[in-house]
Symmetry: C2
Subunit: 397 residues, 2 copies
């Protein structure tokens, strides 16, 4: 057996999505990239802000001695201090650099957190739908992935979460703004969740961590506030990245922030640093650390996404595709029309050169996800394709 | 219990080394950095080659659209193609880009490889002494770390390895040029190892992988050749990085290369790509991928290390400290004098402001490691401190 059984199994179960991506590339080669409406991948296409380019060029020209060497596994102290200020503003706390561990993107940060806290058999509750990779991240470190249903508007169902809490619950992992639904959890929901976790902790003696993955924090529309977490619940951990807010996902830069009120904070911070090292991340990329420290108040022009969202919504409205109310991110999570499942719907759309992702991968069959991090003109041009594709469903109703 | 038991245990066992590092920093604050002879850390201090700076500035100025976005998890195709050429030259094979998976440094690459191949309880044989982190990397993915003794000159003991091979052996993990001994395994040793693995595979039906971690490949002295691996054994995997050859360890860029003769090659490559994704690496940092692709024939000026080695050897010779014959890397692995163990010796040297690492961490008590990636003048200035420190041992013999 040349590879691990678990990986072999994962490869065969994920082959459907990979086949779709490959087919998408084939379609583009065949019909031209502009004629394929590829809403499958969440790869931000907006340029990084001009300030990113400026600091990038400056650091390259300076190229200070030792600036590409190892630093502490947790990252540069001054970078962590700059991000602590950002975290304080966003989360209503007062933390210093020691509470910030630089990470190789949010995906790296989540693995570091889960490695640090999970004992074999520990459970992590995850609201459904969920980001596809969470299951793997939890399994990597011996944890058990426990999906929890959400309300019909995809807000957290606090009673459903409370019902699944047990002495095995190491953490509740939420994502807000939410991929794939675009949902932003309001402060009263976060507070209700904190209350449920505290009640459980007081009864059971084990307070689960609340881990919040928030790489879309800056991508919200209509001024919707993203609730603070670190001030809402003592045992909370925030994981964030610059992949979306600065459009630099390929550079793998993010961070983990720990609540100043965490009960055994120093031990947790030591564990996070240790996990960064032993998982082979070693440290977040040096140059990108130094860049993002200069850009804590900078983000991409989200009005571009907002305009695209308006165009996309009007197309979906016209053809009668219903979707979750998008408050943030660059995804639209849509109902599959009556008479087919998500995989069939995605296959059907492909005939009209429209690419999306079946909801099954996110734990929600009968839904599909479209990512609108593609040029507005391509979204607009997809209107005709959507109309043709949806005729079949209009006739049958 | 706020963190994982295994991490808590690891934290307490690694606290000795961390305390030493902290004490080292305190000593520098107290006595001035130039008065402390810090040979503890393998953080290359030589500047990256001028060609690195040139391409860095050029890519920053161009800052091409989309150049910081996601690419395939395995990395950019053209970068992988450039590295395939390098691998072909070094390993006497003919591989194309599909055989190269870009990694977040060699430590990231090793975790990707081990995640891909290890089933629970699978054993990985590792010659002793060994790089401190290998044990953690293997444990991360459910494997069992099995140290194997080496010969007195630290060359591989093929019979000792052959004796430990069993149906549980998933891999043999070697490091050449070797940290901490500086040993470079000659081709006849690699070939003998390949023969032993093939004999075992033919008998047992399971051919272990031969994983070679070679971040020091470019750091060899006196023209000693580094043996090819991928052409020597079918089931071989090379992990390399640019941390040492370009002095950019903080940037986390490396790669994994798979032998063209591996028996189930495509499955292994698919597994490596999958593991890159699910472990949260996602991809190697985009910018650094594009930089190293331009620098496949460039390396730091190793004559600097060679001169330091000569100075350091003459100091050790003068004070009667014996060491393993250094053929590569920037480490000197030294015998502890009679009458104390490695930890006591390191503590004793600290009184003279000399910092090194006890061999116990590498699986070899009674040895210590000195890293000479520090300025030659500091090495030269340590002569007096070494003389004073060693008087105690001269008297007692």
């Amino acid at each position: 057996m040349p590879i691990a059984y678990a990986i072999k199994e994962a490869l065969s179960s994920s082959s459907m999505i990979r086949r779709m991506f490959e087919e998408g590339n084939q379609l583009k080669a065949q019909y031209g990239a502009d004629n394929v409406f590829d809403f499958s991948i969440g790869n931000p296409d907006i340029d990084p802000p001009p300030a990113f380019h400026q600091i990038f060029v400056k650091l390259a020209q300076d190229d200070l001695k030792g600036s590409h060497g190892y630093m502490a596994n947790a990252g540069y102290r001054d970078v962590r201090a700059a991000l602590a200020q950002k975290v304080n503003t966003e989360h209503g706390v007062t933390v210093d650099y020691t509470h910030i561990i630089m990470a190789v993107g949010a995906s790296g940060g989540l693995n570091v957190v889960l490695k640090s806290i999970l004992n074999p058999g520990d459970e992590v509750l995850v609201p459904c739908p969920y980001f596809v990779e969470y299951r793997s991240y939890i399994n990597n470190h011996g944890g058990v992935f426990v999906p929890v249903e959400t309300l019909t508007d995809f807000n957290l169902d606090i009673s459903a979460i409370a019902e699944k809490l047990s002495s095995k619950t190491a953490a509740v992992l939420i994502n807000s703004p939410h991929n794939p639904t675009g949902r932003v959890y309001p402060a009263h929901t976060i507070n209700a969740l904190a209350e449920a976790l505290n009640m459980h902790g007081n009864t059971c003696g084990r307070f689960p961590y609340l881990i919040v993955d928030e790489p879309y924090r800056e991508l919200v529309y209509g001024g919707i506030p993203v609730a603070p977490i670190l001030s809402a619940y003592n045992e909370s951990i925030v994981v964030n990245s610059y992949s979306k807010s600065l459009s630099i996902p390929g550079e793998r830069i993010g961070y983990v922030a720990v609540s100043p009120h965490a009960s055994d904070k120093q031990l947790l911070l030591d564990a996070l640093i240790h996990a960064t090292r032993v998982l082979g991340f070693t440290n977040a990329p040096a140059l990108m650390q130094r860049i993002v420290a200069q850009l804590t108040t900078v983000k991409v022009d989200i009005s571009v996404y907002e305009r695209r969202l308006a165009v996309f919504r009007s197309i979906l409205d016209q053809v009668g595709i219903r979707y979750a109310n998008p408050e943030g991110t660059f995804y639209l999570f849509c109902h599959v029309p009556e008479g087919c499942n998500d995989i069939q719907f995605i296959e059907h759309l492909k005939n009209y050169l429209i690419l999306g992702v079946p909801g099954s991968g996110f734990g929600k069959a009968n839904w599909v996800r479209f990512a609108y991090c593609v040029n507005e003109s391509i979204i607009a041009a997809s209107a005709q394709a959507f109309k043709k594709a949806m005729q079949r469903f209009l006739k049958s109703t």
